[in-house]
Symmetry: C2
């Protein structure tokens, strides 16, 4: 450029989020995000599937949505109706399903269909960062409901609903990740799901059920989806192939009553989600999903064991956690003096990336010494080395842990 550069600054709306930083790659020991185990991607099966489906239907790529309409590739919707019936007890037809570009687009479509600036929603106090950030950006008041080892606490939900009612506020939805909660890894029992449905009906507030992680349960058994248990249809259910197959394939889905579906379709102005990914998933999953997922889950379970062992070894009692019931995350409490947002920076400098608790919670004081670790993506060795490196940073920055595996740590001061 030979002239002065064009200045875009004055054209930007005042409420834009801050500019992104340039990508600098993943940390050497990466415990962040929802990344999965590279060794468990069914590469050969995907190759066979994509070859078969392209040979049979490849010409259809010339037409938007493969001429299957805006709800997406019909064979994948048909696979999902079978899978949702088998695993989650959901009775649906292909017409009740919308295929989307990952469950993040599902969040956007549900939000844009139901929410206006100034609205109120109820969510789990510890929850998915992407859900929280979306609500903040939309100017929606997100009220966090505390969790226990069975997920969202119904006494707290009932109290919050009553309190809002007394103030004349009808929340737009109750957002929950009931089956392998993110980040805590709990599974809400069936009785509590019933209670949530009762409160939902009583207060006429729909439930937004995010079942993204629900395929990854250690004991291959899970309660029915809240959607399946509803007798009124006041539930919107979303899910994803990101955890069960591969996150870089951006394919999720929404199950919703037509009254809501028809509104979401009007907002889905992307001319369809990626068709090749829908085709390969339909072809692969129809034959292999039921055997792939248990194998993946077993591999993830061994990585969780490695992580918990490494934390016990390196942090001793300084790292507290409940064993998750499935999934890819461990939610860890460090001593109160550890600020995990500061730890994030120091750890990153040492080649370890973590997700600091406050980004996954509506309660800053509760979450400030907590963090989320993804154990699916690093190898067993990386988990051990990464936890050791993290412990070293914690010692240097915060004086904890003072002991390693019951042996006084070199720099311990007591």
């Amino acid at each position: 450029m030979t002239s002065a550069a064009f200045d875009f600054t004055k054209l930007l709306p005042p409420d834009l989020p801050a500019a992104a930083a340039r990508w600098t790659g993943l940390a050497k020991y990466s415990f962040v995000g929802g990344n999965n185990d590279p060794d468990e991607v069914p590469v050969d099966g995907l190759i066979d599937a994509v070859t078969a489906v392209l040979r049979r239907e490849g010409k259809a790529l010339a037409t938007y949505n493969l001429a299957h309409g805006p709800q997406g590739y019909r064979p994948l919707r048909e696979f999902l109706t079978k899978k949702l019936k088998r695993d989650a007890g959901i009775e649906s037809s292909a017409d009740d399903l919308l295929l989307v570009s990952g469950s993040l687009q599902a969040l956007d479509l549900v939000n844009h269909t139901l929410l206006s600036r100034g609205d109120t929603v109820l969510i789990e106090q510890e929850t998915y960062q992407g859900s929280l950030n979306r609500l903040t950006r939309l100017g929606v008041n997100a009220i966090g409901i505390p969790l226990d080892r069975d997920g969202m606490r119904m006494d707290a939900l009932a109290a919050a609903l009553s309190d809002l009612k007394s103030r004349g506020i009808r929340p737009k939805y109750i957002y929950t990740i009931p089956t392998v909660q993110n980040p805590t890894g709990t599974i809400m029992p069936e009785s509590r799901r019933e209670e949530m449905l009762r409160l939902s009906a009583q207060h006429e507030v729909p439930i937004f059920e995010d079942d993204c992680y629900a395929d990854l349960v250690w004991d291959a058994k899970r309660p029915p989806a809240i959607y399946a248990m509803s007798r009124t249809g006041g539930v919107i259910h979303i899910g994803s192939f990101s955890k069960s197959i591969a996150p870089a394939l951006r394919v999720g889905f929404i199950v919703a009553p037509w009254e809501v579906m028809s509104r979401m379709l009007a907002l889905k102005t992307d001319a369809g989600s990626g068709a090749l990914e829908q085709m390969v998933l339909a072809e692969y999953c129809d034959a292999h999903f039921a055997t792939h997922v248990p194998a993946l889950t077993r591999a993830l379970r061994t990585k969780l064991d490695t992580l918990m062992e490494a934390l016990n070894e390196q942090f001793g009692t300084a790292a507290e956690f409940d064993e998750p019931k499935g999934g890819i995350f461990l939610w860890v409490k460090l001593p109160d003096n550890v600020d995990t947002q500061k730890l994030y920076q120091a750890a990153l400098a040492a080649g370890v990336s973590i997700n600091p608790g406050p980004e996954w919670s509506t309660n800053r004081s509760y979450s400030h010494s907590r963090l989320r670790l993804c154990f699916a993506s690093p190898s067993h060795q990386e988990i051990r080395e990464g936890v050791a490196a993290l412990a070293e940073v914690c010692r240097r920055e915060f004086g904890v842990p003072t002991r390693i595996a019951n042996v006084e740590a070199p720099r311990a001061t007591t």
Copy 2:
């Protein structure tokens, strides 16, 4: 459901678009949308490409964005830098490129980065419906600039910019489809691009260049992109693989200065666009793009000839059109008494779908008897049969055409 159905009605925000209708399939003779020629999808090449890239890099699907960062799969960005240099004269590096889920996501990201409700933009009077609808939904005032056979008229653009300036309004951008304009099929000559850049600099209004159709030019030669000609960087350039390879693969791209790119990245909260589609495109295009596109273009050109012949045969002088310089659309003028929005309904009932002009224009009176026909998707025979069926509907509903191929039509009244 055994109880009364949950009522979502009161939860919906007041400004939602109307509910979508249920999908009922494509018309028998479908001339709508940007669908392409099924026989030109390079199925075998895509199978080879996806097999090779998955075998080599399939495990990377376990990581969001294949660990290539939020701008997308690096080999595809590198292919694009070469292609953009060769075809459009654009000097760029992979860091200047953002891969997105079709150029529709590009439109959304640029719009959300620059526009607020009440803003003003300048666009071509006849333009892409998806761009127009987005502006309407955002509450942005879109001022249409008339076109001639060389694209957007610079005298009209200069007058509009001056008029806005005199009223204290600085438009947020000038949106143009300069290379195979949609729907008119014109290509803006280099001198006019220079003039647009001069006006852009003079009024400090950036140019938003949509080059979606630019690969499909009959004579394989096109002027440099406006982005390439800018000396200040005040241009945002977008493109797509929808027209050159296949629309159901939702892969587009944005080339923009980092000042804008970093803001768009902050707004792209989808955890990346579909990675498998990026991988297969990179692998396929690096080897075959340069030979595939000319073959596709030749096939499209023969379909355009079939369409123009069929129109001449069936409509005679009642259908007026300029031959497009490339692309997949013909923009047709029918006699003034034909309302193409009414024709749309009547034709659909007869199995023919068309895009009525008013949906592609800011000027209702200019466009009301015009329509857009996509000639890429139907076969040669379907083109001939579909145009005959359309002419029959036009005769029945509007009394035109009165003559067929210089022979008095059976129902002609004069």
